[in-house]
């Protein structure tokens, strides 16, 4: 299964990318995907993430499916 990870702001800076194509096993959760990213890019630990799957907020235990857009968002600071 493949998902697209979307990264923004401090997270995209930490990883050096705004989009990643990631192969994941069936049943992978948002939380497991995040944990994997953090293990590869420890600077991601700096801020607590929010997650969204296909532009809808998701939780750690949300299961991702093939083709999903999974966004990890640092704390927002608009305005």
């Amino acid at each position: 299964m493949s998902v697209t990870v979307r990264l923004f702001a401090a997270f995209s800076e930490a990883v050096g990318a705004t989009r990643l194509a990631v192969s994941v096993a069936d049943g992978t959760t948002v939380g497991k995907l995040w944990d994997r990213l953090v293990s590869e890019h420890p600077d991601l630990r700096r801020y607590p993430p929010s997650a969204a799957v296909n532009a809808t907020f998701a939780q750690r235990d949300t299961v991702v499916t093939d083709g999903d857009d999974v966004a990890f968002l640092p704390p927002v600071s608009g305005g």
Partner: protein, 141 residues
């Protein structure tokens, strides 16, 4: 005709300089005795450091949906209010507006309240991020 809130008809996000007058005109109507306009403006210092400029980034799809949801919620809380909000992305210089929110209502109490609600909700919920750039570095806020 029922006085329904106007969802943001103008772009919720733009990289172009903001036009507060245009946002105000979106909510003006004969029944509105009060119009409140809030502008968030780039200031020259933050936590003691001199700011050179700001950069704003948005998760466009979710930010537009979140802003539309705020407008809808304001319409539910203040049924005769109309609200419009626009946030700018990209590079902003000192003195430029990053966000303009206009709220109209027959009465000023509700116009103030709806406008205040909208900026507070935006700052808490909308997927937009600010990066401060100083003379000697930068940081996402």
């Amino acid at each position: 005709m029922a006085d329904t809130p106007v969802a943001t008809a103008m772009q919720a996000l733009t990289s172009a300089p903001l036009d507060p007058g245009a946002v105000e005109r979106m909510v003006a109507r004969p029944g509105a005795g009060a119009i409140c306009v809030f502008q968030g403006v780039v200031r020259d210092s933050s936590l003691g450091r001199a700011v050179a400029h700001l950069e704003y980034e948005a998760y466009r799809e979710m930010a537009e949906a979140a802003m539309a949801a705020i407008v809808t919620e304001a319409g539910q809380r203040w049924p005769q209010a109309r609200l419009a909000m626009v946030h700018r992305t990209g590079r902003l210089e000192i003195g430029e507006a990053s966000v303009v929110i206009a709220a109209s209502h027959p009465h000023r109490g509700e116009a103030f309240a709806a406008c205040r609600f909208a900026i507070d909700a935006l700052k808490e919920r909308v997927p937009i991020w600010k990066k401060e750039v100083w003379a000697d570095g930068s940081s996402w806020v």
